[in-house]
Symmetry: C2
Subunit: 225 residues, 2 copies
């Protein structure tokens, strides 16, 4: 296991060895660049957490290789292997629970959860969306980026939010803006937004783990002590 901080993981010995290192469950579907950004932030010491499990909705994707190369347990939970979305969701909940996950992070996960997953981890699931929500909600990449480009906005960006039963409408944790340039294509804009995601997502995880977030109305407020 190459995870820094793992040695601190105290379990029942938490009092003796300091607070237990929070375990993340990271859900992926593709190239895993946001997973890599999270693992790099942990390795740099910018994020006090460990990756407890990486779950992919697709077999054979690069994200699984990234996880395996760093000694992180992986699982493939693919829709076609389950008779219903509820059964698929139950498998996800079981895998996350068995791994002792404290916080679930959707890092390019191309599935919409069955409500049972959201109920199992209330305000403990984070998603990153490639737009400044509430603008350009809905749809998987590259649609939000294409929609932003077509709408003529001069700023787009990305949003980390808690996952609720409403798609792309959960309380917002963090946002960052990126410029839309006159000579942008969808691909160029998507790459620029993705680069911003790589900074925003680990930072948002850190805020949630350390900032005691509370949801008031639609706002997420943090401790600033």
């Amino acid at each position: 296991m190459a995870e820094p901080g793992m040695g601190e993981s105290g379990g029942d010995n938490a009092v003796a060895t300091g607070p237990r290192t929070p375990a993340l469950g990271v859900l992926v579907s593709g190239r895993g660049s946001n997973l890599r950004a999270i693992l790099d932030a942990i390795a740099r010491g910018d994020l006090r957490a460990r990756a407890g499990i990486v779950i992919s909705s697709r077999a054979g994707v690069p994200a699984l290789e990234i996880a395996a190369a760093r000694g992180i347990p992986t699982r493939v939970i693919a829709p076609r292997d389950y008779p219903s979305r509820a059964a698929e969701g139950a498998a996800v909940v079981a895998a996350l629970s068995e791994a002792g996950v404290d916080l679930v992070v959707l890092a390019g996960y191309a599935r919409i959860f069955d409500p049972c997953v959201v109920r199992a981890f209330p305000y403990r699931i984070l998603n990153i969306h490639p737009s400044l929500l509430p603008a350009f909600a809905g749809g998987m990449a590259p649609k939000p980026q294409a929609d932003a480009l077509a709408a003529g906005v001069k700023l787009s960006g990305c949003t980390v939010h808690f996952v609720t039963d409403e798609v792309d409408a959960g309380p917002i944790i963090a946002q960052v803006a990126v410029p839309v340039l006159d000579d942008d294509t969808v691909e160029r804009l998507a790459e620029r937004i993705l680069a911003a995601e790589h900074t925003l997502l680990p930072e948002a995880i850190r805020r949630v783990l350390e900032g005691h977030p509370r949801v008031t109305g639609r706002r997420v407020l943090f401790d600033h002590r």
Copy 2:
């Protein structure tokens, strides 16, 4: 006339004295802080333009005093003095045309135009809106700011766009983001957005006057030569 650059205004002598200084028509309804920002940008030499006329939809507002103090012609065109919005709009068009206005700027103007005004100045009317459009369109301040706060976004901002017949939906010229802070009130957020408007609006006017904007689909593209 205290307007710097006014002396450069060549009229028929444009060839001899350099390009004619573009004339702005600025429409206001209140305190005139964006009008002041435009005039200050002109005075600093950051914006090569002159204010040809300031039109207010309300008598006795501070914006009119700001204009008068700088020797700019002013007019009050108040809704109650006209039998219809079309008649009010026709009076606005006449006043702008008589003043030889090249570009119309709505700077906190609390009226929605009759279509005749938009037709008279196609893609020559700019508005500033206190949100990152398309998010929180519609309504006069402080509603967009209050809506952004209630929605829990972590970034809001302001947008300069061309005025079309669709309210707050014209092609976007420029945007800037501002943070929404945990301890914000509507008033604090509105003040922070307004401070950003004071920089964005003169800059957007400059881009329109100098950048040869062209509208492609919903996008506004500029010359970068």
